[in-house]
């Protein structure tokens, strides 16, 4: 029979969601329950506890969160007898990069490095090739806005718009702003972005939505090359995800690693309000 570890490993390798619950205190310490798409395996010591932890694990898994929860001995939600560590193994979040340019090649590379599943989208078949962007998990020939209309997007999804051409950007950003994507970055100069903003306003997009767009894209590190620019964008993504401004640590006084983070990486992105 397949062990709990082997079942967990198979889920991890297949990029399928799974949660592992472990009693970490008391006489039942070490008892486990694995929760995945096929059901559950293991035993925490009582049917009531298994039932309660399973429900909690599925809720945490949907959010991609990892946490300690306490229950009564038979799973009572108000109890404190049993302390359970529930770890979510959520599939990689998606990074969609629009525009198959030199910057996209560098962006795909650093996106992979950060743990994203990277898809590069461009309408031009000559440019949208795996050969030009070898690090992308997928290179798709499609109109960006049409692609995004169909693509799965959640709060952990990152959208990097590198097309910097108003005629592509505006319809794409309109679709992007209808999603719950955690990061919407758009490349282009301040003038390009002013033109985009004007066109989006004309299309009826309000200030609240427009404020979700990170543009000009990236942190101000003086990036010039595709690699430097990709680092600047990646740093902005990480900073927004952890609710940081993105300055130099030596200029600040807050703790380096933030406060009581209980969310496994890559963490869900926070709602961006600029």
């Amino acid at each position: 029979m397949r062990s709990l570890f082997e079942r967990l490993a198979a889920n991890l390798r297949g990029d399928r969601p799974a949660a592992l619950a472990t009693c970490i205190d008391g006489t039942g310490a070490g008892a486990k329950l694995l929760v995945d798409d096929d059901g559950t395996d293991g035993d925490l010591g009582s049917p009531g506890l298994n039932h309660a932890v399973q429900a909690e694990a599925r809720a945490l898994l949907d959010l991609g969160e990892t946490a300690i929860r306490t229950f009564g001995a038979d799973g009572e939600p108000v109890g404190v007898e049993v302390k359970v560590f529930i770890e979510s193994f959520a599939p990689k979040p998606n990074m969609y990069v629009f525009g198959a340019i030199d910057f996209s090649r560098a962006m795909a590379k650093i996106g992979k490095y950060l743990g994203y599943r990277v898809t590069v989208v461009d309408a031009r078949p000559i440019f949208a090739t795996k050969r030009r962007i070898p690090d992308a998990d997928e290179v798709v020939v499609a109109w960006p806005d049409e692609f995004l209309r169909e693509a799965p997007v959640n709060a952990r999804t990152v959208l990097v718009v590198l097309t910097h051409d108003v005629k592509f950007d505006v319809p794409l950003l309109q679709v992007a702003l209808q999603t719950e994507a955690g990061y919407i970055g758009a490349m282009g100069s301040r003038r390009t972005h002013a033109n985009r903003i004007a066109a989006l306003r004309e299309a009826g997009i309000g200030d609240g939505d427009l404020a979700r767009i990170s543009a000009p894209i990236g942190l101000d590190i003086g990036a010039r090359t595709p690699e430097e620019t990709a680092i600047s964008i990646a740093a902005e993504i990480v900073a927004l995800r952890s609710g940081r401004a993105g300055g130099r640590l030596r200029e600040g006084t807050a703790p380096v690693h933030g406060s009581e983070r209980s969310i496994a990486q890559p963490a869900p992105l926070q709602e961006v309000t600029l």
Partner: protein
């Protein structure tokens, strides 16, 4: 877990007994998030990490003991700990680490 999966599977293939130390909680400033794993086998080989290297030595001892006895334990390291001078996190945070033999 993903970063140590290959190593753990190789050790299991070699019939090595293994202990896992998993960060289950962090308070204030800590370098690794919950879910970070340090794996140790009975030959004393190590994979992964639970901190920036500050408490790995102490966790390693707990892991060796867990391999020998099979007894799981929850250990806490941090500035508030009496052992802070010896095993504390220099970053000022506290981490809770669950150490168990991989019997599952």
């Amino acid at each position: 877990m993903m970063d140590v999966l290959d190593t753990i599977e190789r050790w299991r293939g070699e019939r090595q007994r293994i202990a896992l130390a998993t960060v289950v909680g962090v308070e204030r400033s800590a370098p690794r998030d919950p879910g970070a794993v340090l794996a140790v086998n009975e030959r004393g080989e190590v994979a992964g990490s639970v901190s920036g290297g500050c408490v790995e030595g102490a966790v390693y001892e707990e892991a060796q003991d867990a391999i020998a006895t099979g007894r799981p334990r929850l250990v806490t390291y941090g500035i508030s700990d009496a052992e802070a001078a010896e095993h504390g996190l220099t970053c000022g945070g506290t981490i809770h680490v669950f150490v168990e033999r991989l019997d599952w």
